[in-house]
Homo-oligomer: 151 residues x 2
DNA sequence: TTTAATTCCTATTGACATAGTAGGAATTAT
DNA sequence: ATAATTCCTACTATGTCAATAGGAATTAAA
């Protein structure tokens, strides 16, 4: 699975903040209720986003979070990378982190995958997600059946 | 991780078979040695590929495997789907398998991801992998640092 | 100055998937 | 018969993910 719940929740968190943002700071509790996500878990995710400067926080009563910038300047790739701790497509890519041989003919495939995924995410802003009529009409490819797999 | 070892090994298995294929059948043992992959584990992967008709097998002495078709007719997406039991990008896509709300503004993002990944893999054949000079020169995007993630 | 609401920090747990191992049955050419 | 192979089923170890838990630090307001 390329995208975990952390990534999914982070995106929903950011969308919710964009939609409900007013003057002050939004308490996570309200977001957790609207999105029906565990508050404690959201805290963890919001913490990562705060550390990396995608959102801002204030503590104490009337505290909460707000977007660090306008939605059009907040990048989907960044949100996912920060919340998940990277977007790992396959072990053999990025060069360094691999026990994979450099001259393996499969390498260009993994590097291509990495590029395709990153280009997609880093080409979208939070603003792009706000209008459900996106630039793209995505055709959903039918799932293949997954029987006959050994365990 | 979108691609697991099963998927990676399956690709290497198929590439190896394409490169070393002659008249008869290739015993898995020779492939396991060349590729430095556990024979037993390869058996499992080859079994799935056989069941789905991507490769053919014969048992007994002089038995082994061979590609079921020419490399140009064998699809990379199929190889990965069969060996891994699907290419799962994110839980909220494909519609059915999700506890995810349909009107969620994040949905088009996940469907788009699914499409991008599938278009990439299903647009490549085994033959495309055989020439290391592919159609594509893939620029590797630098890994983001992944500190400040809560556990 | 107390109280309530919040972020922030660290640790723990349970469930599940992955990666691989193990042993042997069935098959087939020599 | 024998040796080499595919095929089948079960088991195990490890790690990651998702979530929970408890409380410390901070801040506005009563």
């Amino acid at each position: 699975m390329l995208i975990s719940t952390k990534g999914r929740y982070a995106i929903r968190l950011m969308i919710d903040m964009a939609q409900n943002q007013a003057e002050g700071y939004l308490p996570l509790k309200s977001i957790a209720e609207r999105q029906n996500i565990s508050l404690k878990y959201l805290e963890c995710i919001a913490g990562a986003l705060t550390n990396k400067g995608l959102i801002k926080s204030t503590r104490g009563k009337l505290g909460g979070y707000r977007l660090a910038d306008e939605p059009k300047n907040l990048n989907v790739g960044d949100i996912l990378t920060v919340s998940q701790g990277g977007i790992t497509t396959v072990e053999c890519s990025g060069g360094k982190n691999s026990s994979c041989e450099k001259d393996c003919l499969a390498m260009p495939l993994w590097e291509g995958l990495d590029k395709v995924v990153n280009d997609f995410f880093y080409g979208l802003s939070l603003q792009d997600l706000l209008s459900s009529e996106e630039k793209n009409i995505y055709l959903i490819r039918k799932d293949k059946d997954d029987e006959s797999i050994c365990r």
